[in-house]
């Protein structure tokens, strides 16, 4: 009797795993099957000549190009804003903060990491209202506010990966610098940070992925369906994930739906690419430590 029960264990674990893989495979397979035919130059550039579109000489009306440029601008701006603060905070947490301060700061960053993205979006929206009433009636939801809110969203990821990377450095390596007379500052910049560069980089890639895929934040802070290429950071913009959301609810004809599938495939590939490289870097890293030991 018991023996049969234990056989069930293997059925359960393999069954669960296959179910999960099948479900994920179905999601990805469905997208590829329905959308693959639509992938091509026209999906991105519509009727506009590629070179003219890339040089921003001619606007693209029926392609994903403006949304892709919007997402790129969003990612660059928000990671650009979050990176210096996130890295410095991670270094402070790993190298300077101790005792009570350390656990208090960790708690705050845990809370920030658990924050739903729609709440972060609502925060960005309330900042807009505040600025609009206090400073200038010309301030509306825009690319800048979206990027700022996304920076808030990915800040805890950057802090955590930097901190974890620094704290994982073995004690012997950590002590070599000071033993040779290096100051704490020299040790951080010439030994510790260069050594954890790869895992910090993988954290940055994950943050880029989060910025590119998040929809809830930008929905509340200035993304629109058609704005063309963003002209300034104070204007509206398009983005891939919002386009996918919009098409799923409002598509008018089969062409638009095909573009929706195409956009979903592009976003999926982009995220897979970023996550793939990030994990590959982490893998290489752990192997290196392993060989050292």
């Amino acid at each position: 009797m018991m023996r049969h029960a234990f056989k069930l264990f293997h059925v359960w674990v393999w069954g669960s795993t296959l179910l999960l893989l099948a479900a994920t495979g179905t999601v990805i397979g469905f997208l590829l099957v329905r959308g693959w035919a639509g992938i091509g130059r026209e999906l991105v550039f519509g009727e506009t000549p590629v070179l003219a579109a890339l040089m921003l000489q001619r606007p693209v009306f029926d392609g994903l190009f403006p949304a892709m440029v919007g997402t790129l601008a969003l990612v660059l701006l928000s990671v650009g804003m979050a990176l210096p603060v996130g890295l410095a905070t991670g270094i402070y947490l790993a190298e300077y903060a101790t005792g009570r301060l350390y656990s208090l700061l960790s708690l705050f960053f845990d809370i920030l990491a658990g924050m739903p993205s729609i709440v972060v979006g609502l925060f960005g929206f309330s900042i807009t209202i505040f600025l609009h009433h206090r400073f200038s009636g010309k301030i509306y939801p825009c690319l800048f506010i979206s990027a700022l809110s996304l920076a808030v969203l990915v800040l805890p990821y950057l802090i955590r990966t930097t901190q974890a990377a620094l704290e994982a450095i073995p004690a012997d390596l950590r002590l070599i610098g000071p033993s040779l007379g290096a100051t704490r500052f020299q040790n951080i910049f010439h030994v510790l940070v260069p050594h954890s560069l790869k895992s910090i980089l993988s954290g940055i890639l994950l943050a880029i992925g989060r910025c590119a895929e998040d929809t809830a934040v930008i929905m509340l802070t200035g993304v629109v369906v058609s704005a063309g290429i963003p002209k300034s950071i104070w204007g509206n913009f398009e983005a891939l994930p919002f386009y996918i959301y919009y098409i799923s609810a409002q598509y008018a004809d089969a062409d638009e739906l095909t573009r929706g599938y195409g956009a979903a495939i592009i976003l999926l590939l982009l995220c897979a690419f970023l996550f793939g490289i990030a994990f590959w870097l982490q893998r290489r890293l752990s192997q290196r430590w392993f060989e050292r030991v």
């Binding site: 309330s126 799923s248 979903a264």
Partner: protein, 285 residues
């Protein structure tokens, strides 16, 4: 301490203070903008009332209930599958297979939420509509199934971590007594990893509570107390996304910040719960 040393130390500290101020600032902004409701004496009416704009009632209780039901359904559906999958990945599978599956699960965390929602609309909604007859197919069940898929990688990775932390000698002792893989897992690893499993469930709940797109795209968004899983429902997150377009000074609009505060408090409680479970003393065999 040299000058540059001094400057960098306080530079890092300033960055840490800015970062730590962000979660506080989010709370303060929500509280300030929700202030009219908090002080008007209608706080409990708004938190616990029904949503009935015609009768000037803007209660968010249906959304709170919808959020809880959806999150609990999703995590309940995901839990046995995730536990089994984590058991295979970290325990029952031969080394290379386990490592490969672990990599696959990590890659799954990168699938964009909006992609799940999109596929849900065009694949799962028609399936549910046909399989269970009648209705639109946009229901709690539809959203819960997709949400279960979304939270699975988070839960599996946490389960795997907690299985990996189980003291190795206990397992060796069990193996030496002739316990099979299944017996080792069920009687040694599982009880030892209890706290980690609880933490994984809480994190999964937090992820499910906070997700916007799947609920917004698949749950149908009807403002009513759902009777069963085929009913349409609206979550707090979807409510925020739907109402934001309304007029700035309308009463509907002010309830948004109460929704935001509720979500803030819920996720903070879950984070505290996770930290607490990590600190609980583990069970000794």
């Amino acid at each position: 301490m040299t000058r540059s040393e001094f400057l960098t130390k306080y530079g890092f500290m300033a960055a840490a203070i800015i970062s730590a101020a962000v979660p506080l600032a989010i709370f303060i902004f929500m509280a300030l903008l929700g202030y009219p409701i908090l002080t008007s004496g209608r706080l409990f009416g708004t938190l616990l009332g029904a949503w009935d704009p015609i009768h000037q009632s803007y209660g968010i209780l249906p959304m709170i209930i919808g959020t809880f039901i959806l999150a609990i359904l999703a995590v309940a559906a995901a839990f046995p599958v995730c536990l089994g999958c984590a058991a295979l990945v970290s325990d029952a599978a031969p080394g290379p297979v386990g490592r490969f599956l672990h990599g696959v699960v990590r890659m799954m965390t990168g699938i964009p939420t909006v992609v799940y929602g999109f596929v849900g609309i065009f694949l799962l909604v028609p399936l549910i509509r046909e399989a269970f007859g009648g209705g639109s197919g946009f229901s709690l069940l539809t959203a819960a199934l997709m949400l279960a898929l979304l939270v699975s990688p988070t839960m599996i990775l946490l389960f795997c971590d907690s299985f990996g932390r189980v003291t190795h000698t206990y397992r060796q002792a069990a193996a030496a007594l002739g316990a099979t893989t299944a017996q080792q897992f069920l009687f040694v690893v599982l009880p030892q990893a209890r706290n980690g499993i609880l933490a994984g469930v809480l994190l999964g709940l937090g992820r499910a509570l906070g997700d916007t797109l799947i609920a917004l795209m698949l749950a149908g968004n009807a403002v009513a107390f759902p009777d069963h899983v085929f009913d349409s429902a609206r979550t707090l997150t979807a409510h925020i996304a739907l109402i934001i377009a309304a007029d700035f000074d309308s009463p509907e609009f002010r309830t948004l910040f109460l929704c935001g505060l509720t979500l803030y408090v819920l996720t903070t409680l879950l984070v505290l719960g996770v930290r607490l479970t990590m600190r609980l003393p583990g069970r000794r065999p």
